[in-house]
Symmetry: C2
Subunit: 252 residues, 2 copies
Amino acid sequence: MDKELKKVNQNELNPHVSVDCVIFGFDMEKLTVLLIDRGRNKSDKGIKLALPGNLIYNNENLDQAANRVLDELTGLKDIYLEQVAAFGNPDRISKDSDREWLKSIRAEPEARVITVAYFSLVKMPDYLPQASSFAKRAGWTSVTEINELAFDHYEILQAAKEKLKQKIKIQPIGFNLLPEKFTLSQLHRLYESILEKPLDKRNFRRKIQNLEIVTSLKEKQRGVPHKPSQLFVFNEERYRELTENGFDNFDF
Amino acid sequence: MDKELKKVNQNELNPHVSVDCVIFGFDMEKLTVLLIDRGRNKSDKGIKLALPGNLIYNNENLDQAANRVLDELTGLKDIYLEQVAAFGNPDRISKDSDREWLKSIRAEPEARVITVAYFSLVKMPDYLPQASSFAKRAGWTSVTEINELAFDHYEILQAAKEKLKQKIKIQPIGFNLLPEKFTLSQLHRLYESILEKPLDKRNFRRKIQNLEIVTSLKEKQRGVPHKPSQLFVFNEERYRELTENGFDNFDF
């Protein structure tokens, strides 16, 4: 095989494999997700909003591709991304409006593409998305307000939400969505919005305090229009201890 | 675009995407996994054993591909397969011995392939593997005896083992590996082999009995060379109850 040719191919986009990123945030009221606006196509039809995603290069692995694509489309860098699943329905990119849009950006718009979805949790104030490449705009949208997305991205979002729901039951990952100092009401609201159900406030507080996963500060909220609440920080040492020993009944 | 051409392409193998299956069993002593023997290549080098896997067709989804490939290589049908993860290291199929073998079976042996790994748990006696297609032989191997596999299959196996380990801590999925009637010693041995550590027998029995997840039968083992033990069955109703209400501390 021609080595020069092989080298060139390695630096090319693989027309059959893409990555898509589900980046969750929390605006202190609702769970949010980072979406890009890919703009209207010529016929002014079709769905504008999509998860940040694109084809992989032949010389990068899937994790690298996810990080690169996220950076290229939204400016978010150095984020820990975890795989959700691969999505490979043969019809996943075949809606007319999606095809129209693909024709405007891809060399082989008719190629079958399977996508590997990633997810991450970020502290919203730390990341101000900056759209570039084919993204006209990038920004946070409340998850409950989303009814449709481009391609199979709505399905991917549901799978990522489900993964987050399962994960928060066995690991206190929700703390990645909060600022360093937070109130128990904010933590309670976060769990409600991830689990998508109301949680009894007193039970919740008792459970969190029994787990000793938060430490209270000698400090209260400032500049709030209500009685300031006690602030807490996440106890990382206790988290590691719990992770090693397991939280659940089935960890013998 | 020529519709006839498109149709033909749909029925072709996609040279860039494969599926691989990690099928776990339990021989009442050890955790086992289903491997195929792909035979020696001409130079008589290289690793013979591999997970059952192959390229996907362009007209099937990933779950369908996994089921078809498993059936084609091992004769196992109608098994519930769950995704582990996608593996996409650019070098994952580039070992010389693997390339030699790929040249003998694939139209585009140099193409980059990403693979989607699936896993499942089966009751060993229900499935006698029957090799066909490019598998010379198919059979169960004890997981602890495996030191290397073809391609990145050893890495995939480790990821599937880790997934199983995490899953058995929150769901009693181990029962899928046992016959309908089993002893508590067999269940104990199963958990030890999945979690890869000794578990105190009395603690284990107490936990299992507190969970009320097994029901004792008025029946004992027969034809065993030791004092026959009490037989149990898995309590599916109680399992559903536990699954709905959650096992763990973080399920509010």
